[in-house]
Symmetry: C2
Subunit: 304 residues, 2 copies
């Protein structure tokens, strides 16, 4: 499970940073958060198998978060993709893609389901993970996301299983699935004798663009990784409510309040060619902060 | 006067080629033909002073020719541009930009005039140059363009002017402007005694996307530089009428029929990672053919 920061600039691409987009790869699936201009070119430069993108989550409709979406849909069509794709975003995204299709800017010839977000809650419920959303606090309607891996089976006590002479195969699988088994000698074994308690799943929150708000803390609560916007430095704290953005220090405060394990700063204003200041401010509040650059890779590990 | 091929790929960007866009720089003005995804990033990598873009000509509304337009308008707004901009394109482009503004994908805070093309003819008439359009033959409505520098003053015969003792300053200027002058000694001098016949202006045609057609030849007639799509190789000639594209050989035939002086092949299908074949086919018909790569620079010179 890894996160690749494809584009890390705020407002517009620069020579160093492409517009906003983050990919999360989980057991072969690839999920995209935002899709700024240049995202498909960044995907081509990344190690990701981006034909495997199964869902795209657009936080809000500002161009620096969505201008790459028409192109990626067109490229999937040109390259004869057949795998279905889900696109989530705020109300307006359906009309946006419909009109672009009408005027032939976008050509779609594979199954795309466009889902407009109407309320907080679970958007995507796959076998091994879920993606939830909550409304952020930006100048236009904007949604944040959290990816939650479902609890994983507990640790299997191999030594004890050998001692009890439990044969490899279906009986062991049933224990892992939480069922009791009966051995050939008539002995009944309960799953908890061999299998530890379920391990919590890993989680990644995505909070762009927003000023500090309760829902960002809610989404980030206890996550293994929080990807948070950090558009400006702390000298501009007073402006953030008005501008709908966060400083690096405010991003760090959200991570701290949410008890996230790790914070990635992204959506960096082009005014900071060398954003050491932003990282320093964040680390002063939340030491596990890191600065994202384009095409950085972050492996997501759980606490245990 | 130079042309920079910003993006040279057909259909979608690749790791080597960005989507379609060509810049023409003329005495400080910059004109853009098409604006595919990634154009602003390519401009940032180019030597052009792209804040000086005064007109953008979109040939047709397929995404690989227009997906970069919202981003560039947004960036001009973010960077406090005040200089007016004209955007020309086929009908639909107004609605496209209006809707993107409605849903806040594009934010425009400087004067942008959007002009939908309804017929062939002159679109832009500046002091020193014009841009004309004619309809091409593609699968959707598509317009080609020709940039024509206005005739330049003829050669000024410095030696003869000295011999006749014509003083530097206003008198010489009036000769260049085509007026007769009277010297202090009463001698009348006609402009044609000192100034040669007006030299023809330089010209550049832009024909993307199109299958071979009379209007492409019309636009390219006698140009110093023809930028023509060359999506496929000559083995696919039979398909071009149906696909609305040209092979490299067909692009060369258009250059030959139009008596262009030079041909640049662009809009290369991603299937040709090494497009030597396309260049070879074109050169076999029109030796002054060249292959465009991203960020190539072509100086435009006149025949004389």
């Amino acid at each position: 499970m890894r996160v690749v920061t494809l584009g890390t600039s705020a407002g517009r691409p620069t020579a160093q940073r492409s517009a906003s987009a983050v990919a999360l790869e989980y057991e072969g699936d690839v999920i995209l958060f935002d899709c700024g201009e240049g995202t498909q070119a960044q995907l081509a430069r990344s190690p990701l198998r981006w034909g495997n993108i199964n869902a795209i989550f657009i936080g809000h409709l500002h161009g620096d978060h969505v201008n790459g979406l028409p192109g990626i849909l067109g490229t999937f069509s040109l390259t004869d993709r057949t795998m279905p794709l889900k696109v989530f975003g705020p109300p307006g995204i359906k009309r946006y893609l419909e009109i672009l299709q009408e005027i032939k800017t976008v050509w779609i010839n594979f199954p795309v389901e466009i889902i407009e977000i109407r309320k907080s809650g679970t958007l995507l419920d796959e076998k091994k993970y879920q993606v939830e959303t909550a409304r952020l606090d930006h100048v236009i309607e904007c949604w944040g996301y959290v990816f939650r891996e479902k609890p994983r089976p507990g640790h299997f006590d191999e030594a004890k299983a050998e001692a009890l002479k439990i044969p490899h195969g279906p009986l062991r699988s049933r224990l892992v699935q939480g069922q009791s088994i009966t051995l050939e000698n008539g002995q009944v074994i309960a799953p908890q004798e061999i299998v530890g308690p379920p391990r919590p799943g890993r989680s990644v929150a995505y909070c762009l663009d927003t000023c500090p708000c309760e829902n960002a803390i809610f989404l980030a609560r206890g996550t293994d990784l929080l990807i948070h916007e950090s558009t400006f430095d702390d000298s501009l704290r007073e402006e953030m409510k008005k501008w709908g953005h966060s400083t690096s220090g405010q991003a760090a405060e959200t991570a701290l309040k949410a008890k996230s394990r790790r914070l990635i700063l992204t959506h960096i204003s082009p005014r900071y060619a060398e954003p050491e200041l932003l990282l320093k401010e964040a680390k002063g509040i939340f030491p596990e902060a890191e600065m994202a650059w384009d095409l950085n890779e972050f492996i997501v590990e759980s606490a245990e």
